[in-house]
Symmetry: C2
Subunit: 207 residues, 2 copies
Amino acid sequence: MRTEGSAVDRDRLAAITEFLLFADRLKTVERKGMVPGVNRRETVAEHCWHMALAALLLEREIGFTVDLGRTLSLILVHDVVEIEAGDTYAYDTAGVAEQAAREEAAAAKLFGMLPADLSEDLDTMWREFEAGITPEAKLAKACDRLQGFMQNVAAKGVVWKENKIDRARTSIRTDYPRAVDPAIAEVIEILYAKADDGGMWPPSADD
Amino acid sequence: MRTEGSAVDRDRLAAITEFLLFADRLKTVERKGMVPGVNRRETVAEHCWHMALAALLLEREIGFTVDLGRTLSLILVHDVVEIEAGDTYAYDTAGVAEQAAREEAAAAKLFGMLPADLSEDLDTMWREFEAGITPEAKLAKACDRLQGFMQNVAAKGVVWKENKIDRARTSIRTDYPRAVDPAIAEVIEILYAKADDGGMWPPSADD
């Protein structure tokens, strides 16, 4: 917090305002997942809200302690670089390979809009999320994967079918959250059961 | 957190999963604000992410201390009732008058999907936000108003013009965040200056 009674710093607040106005563009970056009920793909901003809600609800279900404020901060910030770097589809191998370089350049540009201390803080949060080492980053990253998987279940598997992603292949997105905690693994199992029961997978070569 | 080594509760996690799947609908509820660059209104889910980002960046600029995890939790949860109750346009006097009753019914239905303890927690968060008494609720509520105002600036005043909302009338949305803290008041001033310089207000009767 600002020291009590000290004057506000207009330049500093102007930089924060510009960043917040620019961040609006995360509502124009689309992910692959479809939003059921409306004929469009989920935006990255919506994804961030939904995974933050998941983290909030799962915090007390998991078997390790996290700082909730830090966890939610990592989630809110983790995809801001996609304003410049775009969303990379998890099953697009070529895209994933060059994703890191695009995101590094985006981070320098976007976080650089902020006052130096805040810029460094957000950059640190982004890297903490990506590294996935702290308990907060583990929960945040697990919720990232969980939310993406859940979105496909919410949309009855339409994107899996469209991209011929079979059940086995989704393990590259679900192995991580499963390994983070048994409660999260259980949520993943519940979602797989829904996908199986709902016929959400593409027809296999044997069909 | 779950007691270490204790088994996960499948029924409990199934209820959380259902709630999270249902919460997806907040991506289909539209607000009045337009998202520049794409021809559609902002969704409530996007609004929640954006105001959470604002709270994260303004936390250390304000002259009072908040628990960031609690502040962000209030923000993430505060509009979930709009899945059932819809968004009420701030300048729709009749809508605002009956909003409370609609939202009470929605809260009972939606939070009731969760296990009792979580249901009570989310209900408490929603009421804490609405009451606006705790420091966390004050920051969260200020960010709610700030974000809505900022969205109109981001969209160059198109919605103000469409609804003939003049500069003076916006005070019913900006007086609150201004009163919460001088740093937030400064951000509001910066946004008003942008609106003035950008010709974002509807033509007045005198023009």
